[in-house]
Amino acid sequence: MCLQVINWQIIVQKHGPAVWQTAYRLLGNDTDTADCFQDTFVSALQVCRRERVRNFAALLVKLATARAIDQLRQRVHRSQASAAWADCKAEPDVSTTPFQQLQTQELAAKLLDTVARLPDQEAQVFCLRYLNGMSYRLIAKQLGVSTNAAGVALHRARTKLRRLLENDTGEQESEATHETAKGHLDQGHRSS
C-alpha cells in the first residue's frame, strides 16, 4: 500500500524530462531509453509503497541511472555496444570540424563502455556526480551510504576509468607500432 497519495501524472510530467535525459545520455538510443524510462517510474512506485519519498527528483535520477547502467552492462555482455551507441550524437558545434565531432563521439562511446565495466556503486556514483551534477551529500543519501564512502567510490571510479581509457587508447596507438615491429622482426629472422 502506498504511504503517500501521489499524482503520478504530475510526477511524470514534471520529472519525465530529467529521467529521459539521464537515461538517454547513457544509452544513446530511443528504444532502450523508453524501456528504462518506464522501469524507472515503476521502480519509483514500488519505492513509494515501502517508504515516504521526500525528494522525487533525486530518487528518479538515481533509479534511472541504475537502470541505465544495468542495460549498459547487458549490452556489453551481448557485445553489441558499438552498434547501439552508434545513435549517440554530439551536440552540433559550429566551432569544431566534423572529424573532431566524430572523435568526441568515439570518446563518449568509449567512456560508456568503461563505465559499464565498473562495479555497480562506483558506476552510479560517477554518473550521478559527473552527468547529473549531484552533490556528494545527495548521492550518499540516495545510495544509503556515508559521504566519505561516496567520495571513496568516486575516487576509485575515476582511477579505474583513467586506467581503462588509457589502456584502450594505448592499445589502439600501439597496435600499428606493434604490427610494424613484428613485420621487421619477421623479416630479420628470415634474412638471418
Binding site: 503520478w8 511524470v12 529521459w20 523508453a34 551536440e91 568526441t104 563518449a108 581509457l165
Partner: protein, 235 residues
Amino acid sequence: MKRRKDILTKAIEALSKSRVSPEPPQELVDATVAKLAEMDKKTADAASKRITFIQRMRSQKGWVRYAAAIILIVSAYFAGRLSSARPPDAEELYAALKPVMEREMLEPMYQQWQLVLTSSNAALKNQLYDEFRSALNEYAVQTLAASGAATNQLLRELIQSINAAQMQDRRWVASALEQVEMNRMRDRARFADGLETLAVLTEDELQRTKQDVAQLLLYSQPIDSNQEMHENAIP
C-alpha cells in the same frame, strides 16, 4: 599523468555534450502514466477490501456533501435561466458587430503582419543558414564515421592477408630447410659409403704392394750375396 587527466576530462565533457532530446515522446509519457495508474488501482483495489465500517461512513459523509453541492448548482442554474430576459438574436448581433470588428481588427492585424514579416526576414535567413550548416556537419560526421568503419574493415582484411602470406612464406622456408637437411643426410651417407669403399680398396692395394715388395726382396737377395763375396776377394 596530465595526459590521463585530459583523456578522462575530455571523455566526460564529450558525454555531457552528447545530444539528448529534451523531452520524452508524449506517447511514452501517456503509456507510463497509464501503467502507473493501473498498478496504483490494483493496489487500491486490494486495499479497499480492508476498509472498515467507520471509513465507509466517513466516505458516505463526503458523498452527501458532493450531492448537496450538485443540487445547489443545478437549482441556481434554473433560477438564473428563469429570471433572465429573452436571449438576444444572434444574427442581429453578428450583423451589427461585423463591420466594427473588420475595421478594428483586420487593419491592425495586417499592419502587424507586414511588420513581423519584414523584420523576421533576416532572422529567417540566419536560421536557414544555421540549419543548413548543422545538417551539412551532421552529414559530414556520418560520412566520416562510415568511411572510418570501411577503412578499419579494409585494414583488418589487409592484416589478415599479410598474416596469411607470412604463414605461407614460413611454411615454404620450413619445407626448403627440411629438403636441405634430407639432402645433407643422404650426401653424408653416400660419402661415408664411398670412404669405406676407398678404405677397403686402399687396404687391398696396400696388401698387394706389400706382397710385391716382399716378393721383390726375395728375388733380389741371392744377387746381393754373390756380389759381396766378389768384393771381399778382390783386395
